[in-house]
């Protein structure tokens, strides 16, 4: 009975390793895609106004001096957060594809980090807009209230991802306890 259980456990470990490899490939592709898209958007934004600026006698330096905040706020920070949310997942899948054990403290931490990044990605556009408006004297209390109370303006995809990752972290925590019990029994 025990040997049968152990065989099943080993088979399950093997399947986890295989599916982790698939997940690792997909996450890596998404990671590279996000980096490329962020760089492409930055280059596009830098080059796009250059044409009109040059036509009116300006240069790319004028653009950088005039609107660097918009570039950082709309492209660079969301891009970096997106990359930062995928990197821990790549490390997690790499780790799991090696040892086949998902229930470890390190994996839980990686999931939590990724969840925090996704959460920041969900709320960053709204917070940055309100901060920007406040600094420029266009503070809108109604939209801030609708964000705080109803979460209006938050990205639903990243919010969902954040919540799901936090749930998975809790699941891994419970699994860690069971894994510890299993190791101690053996």
């Amino acid at each position: 009975m025990n040997s049968n259980h152990d065989t099943n456990k080993q088979a399950s470990n093997l399947r986890i390793r295989k599916s982790s490899r698939v997940a690792l490939v997909i996450t890596s592709v998404l990671f590279i895609e996000r980096i490329i898209m962020t760089v492409a958007r930055v280059i596009y934004t830098l080059l796009q106004p250059q044409v009109s600026d040059l036509a009116s006698g300006g240069s790319i330096l004028d653009f950088l001096q005039n609107r660097p905040i918009s570039l950082i706020r709309n492209i660079i920070v969301p891009g970096l957060l997106g990359v930062a949310s995928l990197l821990p997942l790549i490390l997690l899948f790499k780790q799991v594809s090696r040892d086949g054990i998902p229930f470890t403290a390190k994996n839980r931490k990686l999931l939590l980090f990724s969840a925090i990044m996704e959460g920041l990605l969900a709320i960053f556009p709204v917070i940055s807009t309100h901060t920007y408006n406040t600094f420029h004297g266009n503070f809108d209390l109604n939209s801030l209230f609708s964000f705080v109370v109803g979460g209006n303006g938050m990205n639903p995809f990243h919010t969902g991802a954040c919540i799901l990752l936090l749930f998975l972290a809790a699941l891994l925590h419970y699994g860690m306890i069971l894994q510890q019990e299993s190791d101690e029994t053996l």
Binding site: N13, S20, F103, P156, F167, A170, L171, Y174, G175, I177
Partner: protein
């Protein structure tokens, strides 16, 4: 051992709390998907006899709306799954593994069904097979496929956890 008896219920409690939150999120997402689909259909004046034939662009819009409506199904099932988890606080059960696998299949179906519909429409319209193939593959929703693969991965983890849970129950 004393520490463990404190930690395990705490972990289950945390799991149940997160299950409630995820359940609420997916419940709201289901309502949002249904609301979007129904509001679109009510605005579409299809029932009037004098309406013009649906254009290619109109068909694409219908397909995207159906996709949106179809995503309500796995969302609703996920909400039910998490509601069940919030109730009993036992994630590592064989029934949950099966449910998550079924969800993965539904996600794959949601990704492919609109594409098949679009290909069928083009076939009836008499388009070239190569164009049908290219547009049909282009209409496959890759996000849903990634979600399906994620579900399969979670199912594997749950399956492994089920074995650990069995060991733990037998030890006690």
């Amino acid at each position: 051992m004393q520490q463990e008896t404190i930690t395990k219920p705490a972990a289950i409690r945390s799991l149940r709390i997160w299950s409630i939150i995820v359940c609420c999120f997916y419940g709201l997402s289901t309502l949002h998907s249904l609301n979007y689909t129904f509001s679109w259909f009510s605005s579409l004046d299809l029932l009037q006899p004098e309406h013009e034939p649906i254009s290619s662009l109109g068909y694409v819009t219908i397909i995207s709306t159906i996709t949106y409506g179809l995503t309500a199904i796995p969302m609703f099932l996920l909400a039910l799954l998490f509601l069940q988890l919030a109730r009993n606080g036992q994630p590592f059960r064989q029934i949950n593994v099966k449910r998550v696998r079924i969800l993965a299949v539904i996600f794959f179906a949601v990704a492919v069904i609109p594409s098949l519909g679009f290909a069928l429409y083009m076939l009836i319209a008499g388009d070239e097979p190569l164009i049908i193939l290219v547009y049909g593959i282009g209409c496959i929703d890759t996000t849903q496929i990634v979600k399906g693969l994620l579900m399969l991965f979670i199912a594997q983890i749950l399956h492994y956890g089920t074995m650990l849970q069995l060991e733990s129950d037998e030890t006690l």
